[in-house]
């Protein structure tokens, strides 16, 4: 904790910052690699939590205490819990779904490595010299070098964590964006309710509920094929399926009592 506190205050060439950077950077990269290689989804999700936490640590070394807190609360806390909850709900903890074709694998890795190489080529040099160390003590930067100003000066004496600094901008210039993000979260909530809700029997489902298990899926596939533009034989089947869209009936949001058991077969 002492180290973290020191890092949050930061400064040029600060030993605490350097030490914490390497710890968290190695943790972040290692957990990211583990995420994309692990076969067990729960393990992968836990690796992602570790990754988020180490990035929260990196925010601290970047003098961004506010972001660090948000990262832990929202990302590592809320979002990852949601992920884990869904994984547990679906019970798909052991899934061996890597791309099957070896050429695709090689291409994926080669493409990613190419991107990483290009980015490294651009950053190493102009951005990693001593001139790019943040704070007033660093040597002056050449025109082609990145000059890091640091945030300590911008925060000022009475706002060492920078929360007021961020808040002032967020609630003046970005007020509108802030209000919109509230709307966006409402949309997400309503969307999740609609999509995850199970008792909304539409007329086109009635045949499926009364039918034998397995049949509904076939009907759907035929409809899908019809839409994909396949020849008339399949199409006729799909057409029938859709033709059953009947007259409107009063919408009823109450559970209708007939269990849609076909959905639970998964």
């Amino acid at each position: 904790m002492m180290l973290l506190a020191q890092a949050a205050e930061a400064g040029a060439g600060n030993t605490a910052e350097v030490l914490l950077f390497w710890v968290f950077a190695v943790l972040a990269l290692g957990s990211a690699l583990a995420l994309i290689t692990m076969r067990n989804i729960v393990h992968a999700a836990l690796m992602l939590v570790l990754n988020f936490l180490s990035i929260a640590g990196l925010y601290l070394t970047l003098e961004s205490a506010f972001l660090s807190i948000i990262q832990v609360l929202v990302y590592a806390g809320a979002i990852m819990v949601l992920f884990l909850f869904v994984i547990m709900l679906l019970g798909v903890d052991n899934d061996d779904l890597l791309t099957s074709e070896p050429t695709a694998r090689v291409l994926a890795v080669a493409g990613g490595a190419l991107l990483a190489g290009a980015l490294l080529f651009a950053f190493v040099g102009p951005a990693t010299s001593p001139a790019s160390v943040c704070g007033p003590d660093a040597p002056a930067a050449a025109p082609d070098q990145f000059d890091c100003r640091g945030l300590a000066e911008a925060y000022g004496e009475d706002d060492p964590s920078g929360v007021a600094f961020v808040g002032r901008t967020m609630f003046t210039r970005y007020t509108y964006a802030f209000e919109l993000s509230a709307l966006l979260l409402t949309v997400a909530t309503i969307g999740a309710v609609i999509l995850a809700r199970r008792q909304d029997l539409a007329p086109e489902d009635e045949d499926e509920v009364d039918g034998v298990p397995g049949a509904p899926a076939d009907g759907d596939d035929a409809a899908a094929l019809a839409r994909a533009g396949l020849p008339a034989t399949e199409r006729a089947e799909g057409g029938e399926h859709h033709a059953e869209v009947g007259d409107p009936e009063p919408e009823d949001h109450e559970p209708s009592g007939s269990p849609d058991d076909h959905e639970r077969r998964g």
Binding site: N14, F21, A25, L29, A32, L35, I36, I41, A45, F52, I55, L58, L62, E63, S64, F66, I70, V74, Y75, I79, L82, V86, L89, L90, V92, D95, L97, L98, T99, S100, A108, V109, G111, L115, L119, V124, A127, T128, S129, C134, F146, C148, R149, L151, E153, A154, F165, V166, M170, Y174, A177, S181, A188, T189, A192, L195, A196, A217, E263, G266
Partner: protein, 99 residues
């Protein structure tokens, strides 16, 4: 600590995330890799904000996190819905990946 090292870490994280997206076929893992890419974006923004000594980058990170939360809710609902319909999360089933 030169600011460039943060950019390097985030560039590596982004590349790893992209490789993951191309490599994995499970919808949830795929989505987790995209979250990883979003995090590398956030790291770049926070580092750039420190480099320039300005607030915009940190505000941007805040909004990216909010949007990522909204997307995660919607995306996981879609995934749950599809899983109950089909019983697998493999995105390589021809229907889905018929480009």
């Amino acid at each position: 600590m030169a600011i460039g090292y943060y950019f390097i870490v985030s560039a590596l994280l982004f590349s790893i995330g992209l490789i993951g997206v191309l490599l994995r076929r499970n919808a949830i893992v795929l989505f987790m890799c995209i979250e990883l890419m979003l995090n590398s974006v956030n790291l770049t923004l926070a580092a750039a904000a420190r480099m320039w000594g300005g607030p915009d980058g940190q505000v941007f990170v805040f909004f990216v996190i909010v949007v990522a939360a909204a997307e995660a809710v919607v995306g996981l609902a879609l995934i749950v819905n599809l899983y109950f319909r089909r019983g697998t999360l493999d995105v390589d089933v021809p229907q889905l990946l018929r480009w």
